[in-house]
Symmetry: C2
Amino acid sequence: SRSINLAVIPGDGIGQEVVAEGLKVLSAVLPQDVKLETKEYDFGARRYHATGETLTDADLDALKQHDAILLGAIGDPSVPSGVLERGFLLKLRFAFDHHVNLRPSKLLPGVETPLKGEPAIDFVVVREGTEGPYTGNGGTIRKGTEHEVATEVSVNTAFGVERVVRDAFARAQARPRKKLALIHKNNVLTFAGHLWTNIFNKVAEEYPEVTTEYMHVDAATIFLVTQPERFDVIVTDNLFGDIVTDLAAAVSGGIGVAASGNINPSGEFPSMFEPVHGSAPDIAGQGKADPTATVLSVALLLRHLGLEAEAARIDEAVAADLGERAGKPARSTSEIGDALAVRVAG
Amino acid sequence: SRSINLAVIPGDGIGQEVVAEGLKVLSAVLPQDVKLETKEYDFGARRYHATGETLTDADLDALKQHDAILLGAIGDPSVPSGVLERGFLLKLRFAFDHHVNLRPSKLLPGVETPLKGEPAIDFVVVREGTEGPYTGNGGTIRKGTEHEVATEVSVNTAFGVERVVRDAFARAQARPRKKLALIHKNNVLTFAGHLWTNIFNKVAEEYPEVTTEYMHVDAATIFLVTQPERFDVIVTDNLFGDIVTDLAAAVSGGIGVAASGNINPSGEFPSMFEPVHGSAPDIAGQGKADPTATVLSVALLLRHLGLEAEAARIDEAVAADLGERAGKPARSTSEIGDALAVRVAG
Ligand SMILES: CC(C)[C@H](C(=O)O)[C@@H](O)C(=O)O
Ligand SMILES: CC(C)[C@H](C(=O)O)[C@@H](O)C(=O)O
């Protein structure tokens, strides 16, 4: 018999509500012989206001004991921009070396897209998660004066780029279409761009069956709205990945259904799964949030832990639920969670 | 009587063809008493292959003598990525301090958008043109080894940010809706982000009539496909501006109609006007390229030189031409140019 020792971080705003539904579906889908243990952690704005802390070494030690982490959302307008993002979310991604930030985009039947022609969107973005302009390198001199200079340093290493490029090639190889696109801006960011391009081309030689293409990030945004069906797997840097995955979510049904995994493939540290959406304080506490993105993140979590059949059951339940939504009155957060729990329990 | 002393840089690929049509329309729209002098410069891939040069000091001295520059497109697959971009286009933008990179997006009647619902898109992006990750700062160590590290440094100064933010506020103030959005990623790029945000908020106090909002770049891509009509003026950094203006072009009719100005508002150096699209070598020399983006760039050029009535005549001619395209067979590059020349002369 197996067990899952899960850290649960509901966080701020709608994070609380959607995580409750994610856990509901998780409990419903697990077979009897898999024991689920959960421990809730109170990170986010409340803790920050009460203690000034975002994520301590002791917190990291505690989280390390878990098999995986389920996160709702972190962020609140009462906290200055950047404090929780850098102090909690990015700190955790860096501390646990979540270098594969996995974000699938699939336009499911019945789901509304802002694009004409209901394109067949089905791709996954492998976003680098521990380098690039996200490292926090940089600084400010003469702050607040007319002579202020602020810098941001994008740091890119062969080690960091190669491991995520390899992960993306392996994923592309395992998919029927076997296509991989590198997105960067190597005509302007020539130092980082050449590192990414050279490693991409080198690893490509080991995957003769994978069809590759290179695309500048600006051109990629055009293709994402005019030909999204052309993409199968995308690999890209941390910042470009942040941007294109929000756009990808928008064209494939919105951030209400966009899931993500912050993955440490070696298993040295627990991986973390979270909806792409934020804490949406404007609708928090009203039962209006769609828990689907969190439920799909639970499927990614199960797949990561090797519970493929259960992950697939969740994916199917979500597809069926979305397919029946059109024309029906909106349901509350917990009604959607209940419906999905019933479906996965089958 | 006035005169315009114009530098013409057709460049590579379709640049040649579209610039010819731009000049055709320019000649047709100018009143008798405005004398047009043009001098053509052969920059781009051909020159690079022949001489190894992209843009010399002597070239810059020559270009400096002109009132404005009309550029087609620079870039060819025979030249390594980055060489012409950094060595010509960006070098020119930096040397002539083109800090206001102006990119209007307007969905004209009859023009196809990939978005449902034919949204009323009419906004302009003021993209910073001389700072950010475009400065070429950064480097590579241990190149080609498994220990390679490549950095890119985004440089942002109070001087550089404030002048472009002021330009954007003045533009917003002059438009009926008087709305201005700052796009950045200040929750992650906190050094540069705070500089931008603080200056934006400071200048906002001088423009009480302008309604402002702040948006992260990832969220902005969502709004650009779900609510593009919400935007009026956008101000943003060089790289974010590169990305959002391609997306903006895609949703408002495609890069076939997207114009841009690389503007030095002080007039110390000539400003440069160019279509947003590239050299499109795959269709070059076939008369297939749409010269509309170049013609609209000529309108921006005329407006910059104070010839507002002539600029408006071009905008109207383009709107009328686009409005009549639906259902008609595709025309060649020069047929479209001829039609526009007739309209503006009319
Ligand atoms: C909240 C923010 C720090 C984060 C990011 O930029 O990675 C978010 O946008 C995301 O995509 O997960
Ligand atoms: C060709 C390239 C250097 C350029 C840029 O990145 O600015 C282009 O994409 C643009 O938007 O004008």
